[in-house]
């Protein structure tokens, strides 16, 4: 289904669609139903008029009670029916609106994803968000109204007109004569409204940019004391805006007043002419009442028509403004028509290819190159030499402006996206990692190639072995393993608890002594600097909910204990210190997750803590209220002196905590011995990570060398227990955060490389894909490329490190968009040209 809408896009791109076409597009059935209901409703609406006439002329005049009952009954029924139908019309109309808005949003999004990269360089993400989220609501509303509103109201007007003319032709024609006049005058006024509105939008933008300017230049303003100057500038624009807004509103009011005036002219005409006719006996009293009440009823349809007219105006301005903005030609079709994507013969030929920007700058200038299947080619040069541009042209992400580039004799610019993605895997300089797990990101290219359906149904589901293999190739294996080990297993972990306990025993037996200085073991006589104060006091994993960290400050038993252990006051002091310091440091910066790693305060709590600090400023601890006390206590209990460096835990407090640990244990054993599972060497600790469970302690060193050594110990143990793959599986469920925020730059690159390896494309393009990796990781990946991918996949790599260039079959040196040297590493070194010079400089 998704596939169908996508091909539709190409035949008739949304940006070329008229607003009117949405009225029937996919809504035809609903619109037909709507028309039928409307016609019936309008017919029903005339009934009360007729009944009014009959009630007066027949029932009341002739004093017939039975007729009165019947007519009133019909009157009531038609009113009820009309209301029910009106509700149905509204529901259908709303549904059409929403379907249209959703359709516009989806199709525009599909279109935008497919737009050329150059478009995105000059476009703020905010503009796209605004277009997709806000701008399309009014056009959507219009689509819902497009049939219903004009039809209902025009037909109503016509029906009333017909009925009234039938009743009395002269009076009917006279009372409707005002509408053509309005139809002439109102659009004229609306034109003024539109002009004023456009001006208002324009000046509003100037106001915003003025505000942005003075806020970002506030240093300069204050340093120069230029308040007068800035105020004057701002005031002038605001005055201008004010005048335009007054004018805008004025025209709108004029429309309203004119429209109301004409409408109230109706009864006037009826009174004067109808009255005259009635006096002369040419018009029944009932008919006169019908005329008067029809006049009143005409007001609503007319008002709705005017509103509809305004929605139409605003909607089409918004719609066409948005669509024109995104009306950039899509360079390549997504999918081929009538065939499967090509499996190309992977020889690549580039002939006299150039890439010229709109300003006439040649990023690539007359480049020619041929690459054999399976060949590994390094693109080398200074930054700005065009090496990345060349790679991206081959990946069809840039469209070369002249010359030819072919893969298997097929012109790249004429291939569909599906042909390219079937044959090429690209790892870009700063790969994008999507919110989700490692595994989802790892499968990203693979799933895109094989289709979600195929992977979900298990037909082409990759084996765990395959995933592990690419993780090893890319070097991400160790990272994933660490993520796995750092998982706190929730729920049913029973299956591997015995394994972990066994590993703990073996770890202590084999490595215990050698890691003592890097690890804080769970020892009831020692304070754990790398664990929280709460954990230090409880020294066990809470089983009862009331003792879980978040609930501690609501636990009266625990609060009493803190008092008795003389810990309340020192903890409050600590909490205040933490809150004050963190707020002082972070008050003026945009909140980033990284900033909160060093503080027990969480990102989402910051505003509340900021408020707390404001409240208790200049107050002593005995002056703060209960709620504030608990908030400070909570911060202090979450504090871990080894991790959070903004405050210290004084020596005396450590003694109190260690003392308190025994007191707490004694009390809890009396009250509820099962509430806490105390740290014991032969038990799994559910509140701690797998890693800490194996160590039976917490790593305190940040020294990478030491961490590496501990990891090696653990890996040895995992292999011994045949538990390595299971741990990798757990690690692959690690959540990478938005834009891969929880990963380092190097991990992101390794993940991007791994996902391309998994896709295993015939052509691989690496655009400085290893730039964020350390030397050893780069070398390892290069080894994998040379050993395992040579001959298997054609490789085009933009290389910034010259020591790995030796491994490539061919080196291409670019300078100012031209290929100036091509050959093997040895050739170029012998030649003593550009490459030699660059290589020499690097040494």
């Amino acid at each position: 289904m998704a596939l169908k809408t996508k091909t539709d896009d190409i035949n008739n791109p949304i940006v070329k669609k008229s607003l009117i076409s949405w009225v029937f597009d996919g809504n035809l059935k609903l619109q037909i139903v709507l028309v039928i209901i409307i016609v019936v409703t309008v017919a029903i609406r005339v009934v009360p008029l007729e009944m009014q006439k009959r009630i007066i002329n027949e029932a009341i005049n002739l004093r017939k009670l039975d007729l009165l009952v019947i007519y009133c009954g019909i009157y009531l029924a038609s009113v009820i029916l009309a209301s029910v139908f009106k509700l149905m019309i509204n529901i259908i109309q709303n549904k059409i609106s929403e379907i249209a808005t959703a359709g516009m949003r989806k199709q525009l999004y599909h279109h935008i994803l497919n737009m050329p990269l150059s478009f995105f360089r000059n476009t703020q993400p905010g503009t796209v968000v605004n277009a997709l989220v806000n701008e399309l609501t009014i056009p959507g509303n219009f689509v819902g109204m497009a049939i219903a509103v004009p039809l209902t109201n025009i037909v109503t007007l016509l029906a009333f007109a017909g009925y009234l003319i039938l009743l009395n032709p002269l009076l009917g024609i006279v009372s409707f004569s005002i509408y053509p006049l309005m139809l002439y005058i109102i659009p004229l006024l609306q034109k003024r409204v539109n002009q004023a509105n456009k001006k208002r939008v324009k000046v509003s933008r100037i106001v915003s940019s003025k505000i942005v300017e003075s806020v970002s230049g506030i240093h300069e303003v204050q340093a120069n004391g230029a308040f007068e100057i800035e105020n004057t500038k701002y005031d002038i624009i605001i005055n201008k805006l004010m005048k335009i807004r007054i004018k805008w509103a004025l025209y709108k009011f004029v429309i309203k007043v004119v429209s109301n005036f004409f409408i109230s002219m109706g009864p006037f005409l009826i009174f004067i002419i109808g009255g005259y006719l009635a006096i002369n006996g040419q018009l029944g009293l009932g008919a006169l009442v019908a005329f008067l009440s029809a006049q009143e009823k005409l007001y609503d349809p007319w008002k709705e028509l005017i509103e509809f007219y305004q929605v139409y105006q605003d909607g089409s301005i918004n719609y066409y403004k948005t669509m024109n903005y995104f009306d950039v030609e899509i360079e390549n079709e997504l999918r081929p028509k009538g065939r499967e994507p090509y499996e190309l013969d992977v020889s690549i030929k580039v002939e006299n290819m150039s890439l010229e920007t709109q300003e006439g700058i040649k990023l690539l200038d007359d480049v020619s190159l041929s690459i054999l299947p399976g060949e590994h080619v390094a693109l080398v040069g200074f930054s700005g030499s065009g090496k990345s541009s060349l790679a991206l042209c081959l990946a069809q992400l840039y469209k070369y402006t002249s010359g030819h580039a072919t893969i298997g004799n097929m012109e790249i610019s004429e291939l569909t996206k599906a042909d390219i993605t079937r044959n090429i895997g690209l790892v870009s300089q700063s790969p994008f990692i999507f919110d989700g797990t490692i595994k989802e990101n790892l499968l990203y290219s693979y799933v895109a190639l094989h289709g979600e359906q195929c992977v979900l149904e298990g037909v082409c589901k990759p084996e765990l072995d395959g995933l592990v293999h690419v993780l090893q190739q890319s070097g991400l294996f160790v990272d994933v393993l660490r993520f796995g080990l750092n998982t706190i297993v929730e729920g049913t972990a029973e299956e591997f608890i015995p394994v972990i306990i066994r590993m703990r025993e073996n770890f202590q037996k084999e490595f215990g002594d050698s890691v003592e200085e890097w690890v804080e073991f769970f020892d009831e006589k020692k304070f754990l600097a790398y664990d929280t104060i709460a954990d230090n006091i409880i020294f066990g994993a809470p089983v009862s909910e009331a003792f879980k960290n978040n609930n501690l400050v609501e636990n009266q038993f625990f609060l009493n204990f803190l008092n008795d252990a003389d810990l309340t006051r020192p903890l409050l002091t600590l909490g205040k210190e933490i809150a004050d310091q963190t707020v002082d440091i972070l008050k003026n910066v945009a909140h980033d997750k990284l900033f909160f790693e060093q503080s027990p305060i969480r990102l989402e709590e910051f505003e509340r803590v900021e408020e707390l600090v404001r409240q208790i400023k200049n107050k002593n601890l005995h002056q703060i209220n209960q709620q504030q006390t608990l908030e400070l206590l909570e911060l202090a209990l979450r504090f871990s002196p080894g991790k959070h460096r903004i405050a210290t835990v004084p020596e005396f407090m450590i003694r109190l905590i260690l003392e308190g640990r025994y007191l707490f244990r004694e009390r809890i054993n009396q009250k509820d011995p099962t509430a806490i599972a105390f740290f014991k060497n032969d038990q799994y600790i559910h509140s701690q990570t797998i890693f800490n469970n194996i160590l039976f302690g917490i790593v305190k060193t940040t020294n990478p060398g030491a961490q590496e050594k501990i990891n090696q110990f653990i890996v040895a143990l995992l292999i011994g227990e045949d538990f390595l793959e299971r741990m990798i599986e757990i690690g692959m469920d690690f959540k990478v955060g938005t834009q891969g925020n929880n990963l380092s730059g190097g991990q992101c690159q390794k993940l991007a490389i791994a996902r391309t390896f998994l896709k295993s494309p015939p052509i691989m393009i690496l655009d400085e894909a290893t730039s964020a990796l350390d030397n050893n990781s780069q070398k390892r990946i290069q080894n994998v490329l040379s050993r395992q991918w040579k001959g298997k996949s054609t490789l085009i790599a933009v290389v910034h490190r010259l020591d790995i260039v030796k491994e490539y079959d061919k080196v291409v040196f670019l300078k100012a968009g031209k290929i100036v040297e091509t050959g093997t590493y040895e050739d170029l070194m012998k030649k003593k040209g550009y490459f030699y010079e660059l290589a020499y400089e690097h040494k």
């Binding site: 600097a529 440091i585 910066v589 060398g705």
Partner: protein, 176 residues
């Protein structure tokens, strides 16, 4: 390790406050606004190295800068033929500001010659902070330009006094 707690710092001063005092003394950061230095002090980490351990390695892009808080370390340069000990650094020396700004490999190695503790700042943390203060890059550019100029002047002085032809090739770096 007679203390009940395993942190190196004692006394009432938090590590953050100690770090802040250090940052204020580092020349490279001296022009930065106080709120920026607070963030740096807040985000940096301490790391200890045993005597003989490598702090950073020539050819690696470790994305970090280092300030020696205590201990001693020697700066090493490896060429194809030989390894040179350039000089030894004691506490209160700062290395690697460039690594905070751009991807680059370290041109030297630094090896602890005593048990050493460093204050380490990462590129990630640095750029997160700098992103929020548009005036910082300008301060940095000025500071780097100053450094380049100083290095050039030193070279010229050396060249003037010794008139060795070898130095000629190295001249002109400030004309970049």
């Amino acid at each position: 390790m007679n203390s009940l707690m395993n942190t190196s710092d004692s006394g009432d001063k938090s590590e953050f406050v100690a770090n802040l005092n250090v940052f204020r003394q580092i020349e490279f950061f001296s022009g930065f606004p106080m709120e920026v230095m607070k963030l740096f002090a807040f985000l940096c980490q301490r790391q200890s190295y045993k005597s003989g351990e490598v702090i950073f390695h020539q050819g690696d892009d470790d994305q970090c800068s280092y300030y020696i808080l205590s201990g001693k370390a020697k700066l090493m340069l490896a060429t194809k033929e030989k390894e040179y000990a350039i000089r030894e650094y004691a506490a209160e020396n700062y290395f690697g500001a460039l690594s905070l700004m751009v991807p680059m490999v370290k041109q030297f190695s630094l090896i602890a010659t005593q048990d050493t503790t460093c204050m380490v700042m990462t590129r990630k943390a640095f750029s997160k902070v700098v992103d929020q203060f548009p005036e910082i890059p300008l301060i940095i550019i000025r500071s780097i330009a100053q450094k380049v100029l100083q290095a050039e002047r030193k070279c010229i002085l050396e060249f003037g006094s010794k008139e060795t032809e070898d130095l000629k090739d190295l001249l002109g770096i400030s004309l970049l």
